[in-house]
């Protein structure tokens, strides 16, 4: 789990809050995707509980109720659903704290590597089965019956 606390800065709520949230979400994503090549292809969605409507350059009374607001976001990578949550603290329309809590399973799997993975080898080509002495082969299950007939029918249709 990563935990990033943004430096509290005097920022106006409104467009500024939206941009901070945007940065915070991006920071969370970056933290969870640095260990993978293809996470960028995942889809992203964020449910923002914090109202980030631009209220213009309000300088007088507080537009937002003071307090702490949280929003959870998630995005899917091919093998996992990554989740992060963003907590924003508001006081007098000013963001005083932003916290991003992530649950980056990809990064965790990197940590587990030494403990649960014995080794990795690149680009394995293999050997001809006829040249190795084995009595049987293990791979994906052979398909039979209805599966094969249906696939054959689809192929025939496609070829017609």
């Amino acid at each position: 789990m990563i935990r990033t606390t943004a430096v509290p800065r005097q920022l106006r709520v409104g467009a500024a809050a939206a941009s901070v949230l945007g940065i915070a979400v991006l920071a969370g994503c970056a933290g969870t995707t640095t260990s993978t090549d293809d996470a960028g292809s995942g889809t992203s969605s964020t449910d923002q509980a914090v109202d980030t409507t631009d209220t213009g350059s309000s300088s007088g009374s507080a537009t937002y109720t003071d307090g702490t607001y949280s929003a959870d976001g998630s995005y899917a990578t091919p093998e996992s659903v990554e989740t992060i949550s963003v907590t924003v603290t508001l006081a007098d329309d000013i963001i005083t704290a932003v916290e991003v809590t992530g649950n980056p399973t990809k990064s965790e799997s990197e940590q587990y590597q030494s403990q649960f993975i014995g080794g990795i080898q690149d680009a394995v080509v293999g050997q001809d089965i006829d040249e190795i002495s084995v009595s049987r082969v293990a791979g994906s299950s052979l398909t039979s019956g209805g599966f094969n007939e249906a696939i054959d029918a689809i192929k025939a249709e496609a070829a017609a």
């Binding site: 899917a76 089965i129 249906a150």
Partner: protein
């Protein structure tokens, strides 16, 4: 040394090819009981049969007396689902059907969708009853075939003096002697990426190359999204029993698989879709470079 050829019994069941190899021929009565055992399992758990128990439950059927394998399989699913953060889920049947892998083998994709993540509350298998609060299609594909291999081996073991191999195509169990098994390359069935000698253990394999259809669709879906896995192409797991090996072979397609293997003391090998091969710290398989 005189070599007497083992007896081989081949047949097709639960949608795949089986071979049972025994040092001595199986008596006809034992063959019959094996056939009946497999058919009973299929009638309980096959989502491809209109007359199966899971089909009845998915259609809103009332609670039933739990079939013999219920607790063994669903208890394992609890751990399997937790360690993969919900990627493995026994209610993935409807999502598989929506992607086209339905009982009629329609192979028409109706898009991805998540399976119920609260399946442990939706499904109740306590007290010898199997019930569902909201109808959904059970699919025990993550470990069901391994469980059946274990049951078949237990059925025939008392009748054979010597070596037994129960090979349900991809999932096999060996008793009474070593068996050298090639690890089929998922992208070239004429090649093997290694050899595993299996003695008094089970070796289960899973790969995305055969139960595949349509545009990149295959039978290993992430139950959280309904999308087929893309990073892992093939997995192999060696355990004392086939259900454990089968479950780990499935988990290895996701984050958390290596951790489960460690917890259950299972050796494994897996190949990624970019051609890399990974293996467990204790792996005894011989891998080719």
């Amino acid at each position: 040394m005189a070599v007497v050829a083992d007896a081989r019994w081949t047949f097709s069941a639960i949608g795949t090819a089986w071979q049972i190899q025994t040092a001595t021929p199986l008596p006809p009565g034992v063959r019959r009981s094996v056939t009946e055992l497999i058919d009973a399992f299929d009638r309980d758990w096959s989502r491809f049969r209109a007359d199966s128990l899971v089909t009845a439950l998915a259609a809103g059927g009332a609670a039933v007396t739990s079939p013999p394998d219920t607790a063994a399989m669903l208890d394992a699913y609890v751990e399997l689902s937790a360690v993969t953060a919900g990627a493995v889920n026994p209610l993935v049947g409807d999502a598989l059907a929506r992607r086209g892998y339905d009982a009629d083998y329609g192979f028409v994709d109706h898009g991805p969708g998540p399976s119920p993540q609260d399946w442990t509350t939706q499904l109740d298998w306590s007290g010898g009853r199997l019930a569902m609060s909201t109808p959904a299609m059970i699919d025990v594909g993550a470990l069901g075939k391994g469980r059946l291999v274990d049951r078949v081996l237990a059925e025939i073991a008392p009748w054979v003096d010597g070596r037994i191999v129960v090979d349900a195509s991809g999932d096999l169990a060996v008793r009474g002697g070593p068996e050298r098994v090639g690890l089929e390359h998922p992208y070239d069935p004429r090649r093997a990426i290694g050899v595993w000698e299996v003695t008094d253990a089970a070796l289960c394999a899973s790969a995305t190359n055969r139960r595949a259809w349509g545009d990149g669709l295959h039978h290993v879906l992430d139950a959280r999204t309904g999308q087929p896995v893309r990073t892992i192409a093939a997995t192999w797991a060696l355990a004392a029993d086939a259900m454990t090996a089968d479950a780990v072979a499935t988990a290895l397609f996701f984050d958390g698989g290596p951790e489960l293997a460690h917890r259950w003391d299972v050796q494994w090998v897996r190949m990624t879709t970019d051609g890399r091969v990974e293996w467990s710290p204790n792996c005894k398989a011989e891998l080719f470079s």
